[in-house]
């Protein structure tokens, strides 16, 4: 049996073996680009990627967003320039892409689907910063202030600027940055988890911390969580995972301005 070129990456606590039969250069590039995330051992997720130039690129007129469909064959996303199928057992991903950067799309879609369905966690639009005693999550949609939080956190380690993964392991919530995304090279990302100390909902103004209710936190978080499946059962699983999360992790509103003063509020809190 021919051994295809592959690399095992530790992504948000998942050991993903990425294999590419028809493009060994892509595997070499991947191993180079995310070298700190390359690990050994047995994979927990097998990702087989094929480069297929017959897929349409650029998107067809009228194409707006990808949709993920659940069937007996698993979970399938069929976009204009990529095709991804996650097995029903959530342990194998088969994908076809046109371009190298879409390898990141495949891995991101796989994790943001698999983690909530397993009830292990979720991927969210969020900045994440490591403080002295743990990590803080700052979820929010575009324009919420995630980049401002990162830019005004001197001397602190940025775990994520745009996408973060929250995962529960042995009863503890951990936060990971997601590599292969956005400003990868500007961040000194690490594959190891950071214990999550709390979550802050972002608001702009004079720095202060305000209490929030669990329902407000859940509504806010659900607007930031990335989850492509649209069927009722899968979405209910995400609701369950996130509602549990906002009850188990300290959550507050952080009012911030474009300076690092908000960190005094966080450290005092």
């Amino acid at each position: 049996m021919t051994e295809h070129p592959s690399v095992i990456l530790s992504l948000s606590g998942e050991r993903c073996r990425v294999t590419c039969a028809n493009n060994p250069a892509a595997i070499r590039a991947l191993a180079h680009d995310v070298a700190p995330f390359v690990v050994g051992g047995e994979p927990t997720l097998d990702v087989s990627i094929e480069f297929d130039h017959t897929l349409m690129d650029p998107p067809a007129p009228g194409w707006k967003k990808f949709r993920m469909v659940r069937s007996e064959d698993g979970y399938v996303v069929s976009g204009p320039s990529h095709w991804i199928r996650i097995s029903p057992g959530l342990d194998r991903v088969d994908a076809r892409v046109i371009r190298y950067f879409q390898v990141a799309t495949v891995l991101r879609i796989a994790l943001c689907t698999i983690l909530p369905i397993r009830g292990q966690g979720f991927l969210t639009h969020a900045a994440a910063i490591a403080g002295n005693s743990g990590g803080y999550l700052f979820p929010g949609r575009s324009g919420a202030g995630k980049s401002t939080i990162v830019e005004n956190s001197p001397g602190k380690r940025c775990l994520a600027e745009e996408n973060a993964v929250v995962r529960k392991e042995n009863g503890e919530y951990q936060v990971f940055g997601f590599p292969l995304w956005a400003r990868l090279y500007a961040l000194s990302m690490i594959p190891e988890p950071t214990p999550l100390k709390g979550m802050f909902l972002l608001a702009k103004g004079s720095p202060q911390i305000n209490p929030v209710t669990s329902r407000h936190a859940l509504t806010y978080l659900m607007r930031s969580v990335c989850f492509p499946l649209e069927d009722v059962e899968s979405r209910n699983r995400v609701l369950d995972t996130c509602s549990k999360f906002v009850r188990e992790v300290p959550v507050a509103e952080l009012v911030f301005a474009k300076n690092p003063e908000f960190w005094r509020c966080i450290e005092r809190d």
């Binding site: 669990s214 329902r215 607007r223 009722v232 979405r235 509602s243």
Partner: protein, 96 residues
């Protein structure tokens, strides 16, 4: 108005939902939005799931809460209209 009172509420079967601490969180599929209902609105939505007419639901709410029928009817009609606009529920003719 009378017409609406005689109609039944049908919950959107494609909307994901959970009731947490007595309040419903509903994700509508057409716009991917999450809606958080108050406890009374959640009760109306739950009663809608039992196949009751809007008029029956008004009667139940009057029984369960300290509220005048006229006030309950006015508030529930406004709520139902809002839920229909947000595609959380639809109205149907019970005779169908």
């Amino acid at each position: 108005m009378t017409e609406v009172l005689q109609q039944i509420i049908v919950l959107n079967p494609d909307a994901a939902s959970r009731v947490i601490d007595g309040e419903a969180f509903i994700i509508t599929p057409h716009d991917n939005q999450i809606h958080n209902l108050t406890s009374v609105a959640t009760r109306v939505w739950e009663l809608g799931g039992e196949g009751l007419t809007v008029g029956d639901i008004v009667g139940k709410i009057v029984e369960e809460y300290d509220v005048e029928r006229e006030t309950a009817e006015k508030d529930i009609l406004a709520l139902v209209q809002d839920l229909v606009e947000r595609r959380i529920v639809s109205l149907d003719d019970p005779a169908k």
